[in-house]
Subunit: 225 residues, 2 copies
Amino acid sequence: MLILLVEDDAVLAAQTIDFLNAEGIEVDYAATLGRAKEIAAQTASFDKYDAIILDMSLPDGNALSLLQQSLAGFDAPVLFCTAATDLDDKLAAFAAGALDYITKPFALPELAVRVKLLAGKVSKCNQVFELGSLHVDFSAKIVRRGNRTIVLSPQQWQLLTLLAEQAPTPVSKAQILRHIWPDSEVNNNMYKSLLTRLRHNLSRDNEPSVIQTLKGQGVALRESS
Amino acid sequence: MLILLVEDDAVLAAQTIDFLNAEGIEVDYAATLGRAKEIAAQTASFDKYDAIILDMSLPDGNALSLLQQSLAGFDAPVLFCTAATDLDDKLAAFAAGALDYITKPFALPELAVRVKLLAGKVSKCNQVFELGSLHVDFSAKIVRRGNRTIVLSPQQWQLLTLLAEQAPTPVSKAQILRHIWPDSEVNNNMYKSLLTRLRHNLSRDNEPSVIQTLKGQGVALRESS
DNA sequence: CTATACTGTTACCTTGTGGTTACCATGCTA
DNA sequence: TAGCATGGTAACCACAAGGTAACAGTATAG
């Protein structure tokens, strides 16, 4: 992941860059508005960046102008950042197209989280779960096994996502019951049927099973061993 | 736009609801975690909401548990909100799946902006959408399939753009109903008719269908596989 | 003002879901 | 060994959800 940091305070910038690097985020750095605009010109409106952190108060002008000028081609999401707690500033930033806002002083871990969220939102970084030949795309709600696309019923999808989230940790029967039938009286057979059906859909023919039962502990999503 | 507010402070809740209503945002309200869970059960994991504002400290438990329990089926984005400025709280919330975080006391206009952002209302509408032989030009409002130009009714155009924005992620029936018939009591048949008509217009003869139904999950714009 | 198209409504059909029952396999315990 | 608990499978079927066509009232355009 590559982001652009526009910030005039050299010390803060250095700290931020160090922290983000440690999180696995690469950072390009511009200390002034002028430098940021140069980069914009070179990179076709920040095309290459997953996100931009923009300090509001820069020595050579207000950062809002950057958003407003370049907004047309802006592909990268912008996180605004300023010392001012003034509400009008915030609203102006959002109005100009910022997607998030953080006030100084901020904690670096929080900044990192927000940057990752921003970058993920736009790149539609679909959360995907893979296990052997099983492939689950959570946002698009697609399940594939090898090159075969699998259609799951609502209940089966719910169960699969629950298992995938916890995998390879087993999920107890009680948890599953509560999760899928939150209110109604639950019959143990419903649970058994659901599991059988999901198993059947996930491994046709003689593909290896991916749902393992641990007696008394529940059910886990892992490769057969 | 419809959101869910989970907040135990009745005064603050009333103020928030008033303000959001004035912004054109409808608000459902839950004062306790228990009530929120009831709503979750009724509405198939908050399917009908565009966003959820969740107060961290509730009388009957910590709101994080709601996220963790129900996360599997969570369609709506969550904005966390709390009096604590404790960094750990923030990070825990983000880790649990929150997409934004705001600390009390907050300014209502800022909350409104963040909610709108979350709900995706500010989605950047791509100029052109393509899928197989289907070609949609949003700004010119033209739809083509191969070399045949297609004319859509207003409703059908609305639906197509909604689907295209989210593609290939499926859009739930609840979302569609709210988007196309925002106020009126909606009849399920209207939805069925609209879908049939759009399908019919988009694929005459024996062109492959581009609108896939995922049982219980909604409808998605993707190539038939 | 007339013709056309849009949209809400009804009726009917198809499909798949999911609760249910019945039966079998395994492993533990008395 | 019988008895029981846990877990797996298959088949049945009521019923809800989805799909289609036809009709009518109303809006819209020419």
